[in-house]
Amino acid sequence: MKYVDEYRDGDASQQCAETIRQLVTRPWLIMEICGGQTHAIVRYGIDQLLPAEVELLHGPGCPVCVTPSGSIDKAIEIAARPEVIFTSFGDMLRVPGSSTNLMNARAQGGDVRIVYSPLDALQIARENPERTVVFFAVGFETTAPATAMAVYQARQLGIENFLLLVSHVLVPPAMEAILSSPDTRVQGFLAAGHVCTVMGYDEYPPIAAKYQIPIVVTGFEPLDILQGLLMCLRQLEEGRAEVENQYARSVRAQGNQSARKMLREVFEVVPRHWRGIGEIPQSGLGLAPAFADFDAEGRFGLANHSGGDSTECISGLILQGRAKPAACPAFGKRCTPEHPLGAPMVSSEGACAAYYRHRAHASPEPVASESEAPA
């Protein structure tokens, strides 16, 4: 398959890994932001090709993982309404809220449907004028433009039975949150190529300068990641802290101008709670006042779901790159993809799921019986 096979080439990957081995003179810690990159690293065993000095830390760039349980609880409350068709990307369905998930909400009679695009949800709204169609708008700058387009079209077409439950988040504020932590271990970043395809990378030079950290915009195939690592490690070895673009075949410095314009029109930047991390100011997108009519939270007057979370799962440490999945006592035992304690075990982009699926893991222990589970 052209444009994919070239970037999964075994010989080229081995060559790139060899160049890295010759370059590196001391230990370095590099964080890949995006869960898609984490998945590729573990799936292809990219970390196994690296010298022992290079450690990869997995970042918070998994949209499913960082959506707070309070948002899931709101989604479940909306999905239970008889007049509602609740639409969502597939991998949100199994993410635990504070007590259950959308898959169970569907099993209990909620009309919950998987869509591949918010525009599909809009189409469902057009086909079901007597129902209220709600789309669960999650994800980073990558999915936000399609959400914006759907609500923009709904406005144009005069569709009033289409609402959004918005939980979009932004990447650069999360990077700053990690870097501003006093005990951060991150020495270099691989920035998320797809986010930069939309947003460009003009937000990054101030971060690189302020924290003296190299940032390399990187793609998702094995060779992309190895090249991104090579560029980042070369900067580290040479004492530079610049923004470089490995993913030039997709990313322009200014990003996708029309997508950015659409985002500016439909959304405003808001504070957002990140699962496992807490509230980060200016880190999310919410509907701008001009589009408030499409806000499901406003329409349904939802109760405040703060999300009663347990403290057993260490997803906060995982999402900040402060711990690896295997360091969690519950990993692969009481926390499995079938019975996840935390979102990183659910999503195909979650670090715990990536390790569980692609690396050997401990045998699951029997899951908690119903009587042990909270009411």
């Binding site: 099993a107 501003s180 260490i314 699926r357 690396r359």
Partner: protein
């Protein structure tokens, strides 16, 4: 955020374990296995069931029989390459073949929903007839029930079948040996992608047809050529990965496979890339894996290449030393990856 101390370690409390049946219990993956291990096997425990084969192997006098059953609930009922009718015949025929048996007789139970179009039923029955003829089996008993509108999904079909295990053929996970080579009969994922595309109305610019086929045909060719098949497993809902892990666990053997050796057609690869699916976990209805001694592998491949249902056959890996039930894959770039069963349903990713 102002400081590190603001980081809170939020995480949800555990969900009640399996309080209700979810779709994942029927996905053929880990939850299906838990249902088997924790509910069905303890309830009905006997040596034939405990062998955990695709069908039961029974001895009646001097005759060794294979007996298997399967239910079909696919939506949409008609998809490129087949429909629920030929699927129901081929599936049970293939299950019998995986026991090393020659399929002979099938039963069919149809559960129809009130209002189901007669024309569609005729089309399904006609496909069942063609599939039975192709597989050289006879449908000798059956049953029909009609449920009220809204209580079914158009049509559900159950088929059961019996076949005869001839000569001294012995095909079972227990026969898998260190050094055996693992042969895959063709490319992966056609059925799963064909049904998903038809169900979701996805247009990949090219029609991907289901691979549904009676696997007895190539298996009987292998047996007729005198190949000593140690074990066979057809790839169904959980894909290649789940089939390999099932056999590895039952046989208490370790397998090593090469990603580079596993064939996936361009259209299926493209669809999987778009949907974020792993072809190793996508459903098949006309592919199987065979474990044979290394010395016989080339001959087995030759036989399969001579059969229309085995033209894409290839060696994908081997049985290695070890008894952990572990399957390891060497990736395209030379890394190692553990292969696990399908967890839950395959859900399309966000981005």
């Amino acid at each position: 955020m102002s400081s590190k101390d603001d980081f809170t370690l939020n995480c949800p409390t555990p969900l009640a374990a399996d309080a209700e049946i979810s779709l994942a219990h029927g996905s053929g993956g880990a939850l299906t296995h838990r249902l088997l291990e924790q509910l069905f096997l303890p309830a009905f425990h006997n040596p034939m069931l405990d062998a955990r084969h695709d069908g039961a192997m029974l001895e009646l006098g001097d005759t060794r029989l294979a007996f298997s059953t399967d239910s079909y609930v696919v939506q949409p009922l008609f998809f490129p390459g087949g429909n629920i009718g030929d699927l129901a015949i081929n599936g049970t025929v293939s299950d019998l073949a995986m026991c090393g048996a020659r399929p002979h007789y099938l039963s069919a139970g149809l559960i129809l929903e009130e209002g189901f179009p007669m024309e569609q039923l005729e089309g399904i029955v006609s496909s069942m007839q063609c599939a039975a003829r192709r597989a050289d089996v006879q449908l000798v008993t059956g049953d029909t029930k009609v449920v009220e509108k809204g209580c079914g999904d158009g049509i559900f079909i159950n088929t059961s079948g019996i076949g005869v295990i001839e000569g001294n053929t012995s095909v079972a996970p227990a026969r898998v040996e260190n050094g055996d080579l693992i042969i895959l009969s063709g490319d992966l994922g056609r059925h799963g992608i064909a049904v998903m595309a038809a169900r979701e109305g996805l247009d990949f610019g090219v029609t991907i047809a289901s691979d549904t086929a009676p696997l007895s045909l190539p298996v009987l060719s292998l047996l007729a050529a005198g190949i000593d098949l140690h074990c066979l497993r057809d790839l169904t809902r959980g894909g290649l990965a789940t089939a390999l892990v099932e056999v590895a666990e039952t046989a208490q053997a370790d397998f090593s496979i090469k990603e580079r050796a596993i064939p996936v057609s361009e259209p299926v690869r493209g669809a999987c890339e778009i949907l974020g699916l792993d072809p190793l976990y996508v459903a098949n209805e006309g592919r199987f894996v065979a474990w044979v001694a290394a010395a016989e592998a080339e001959h087995a491949l030759e036989i399969m290449h001579g059969h229309p249902l085995g033209t894409g056959a290839c060696i994908i890996g081997r049985v290695t030393e070890g008894d952990h039930g572990a399957v390891t894959m060497e990736t395209h770039i030379g890394g190692k990856r553990a292969i696990d069963m399908l967890s839950g349903e395959q859900l399309p990713r966000i981005c």
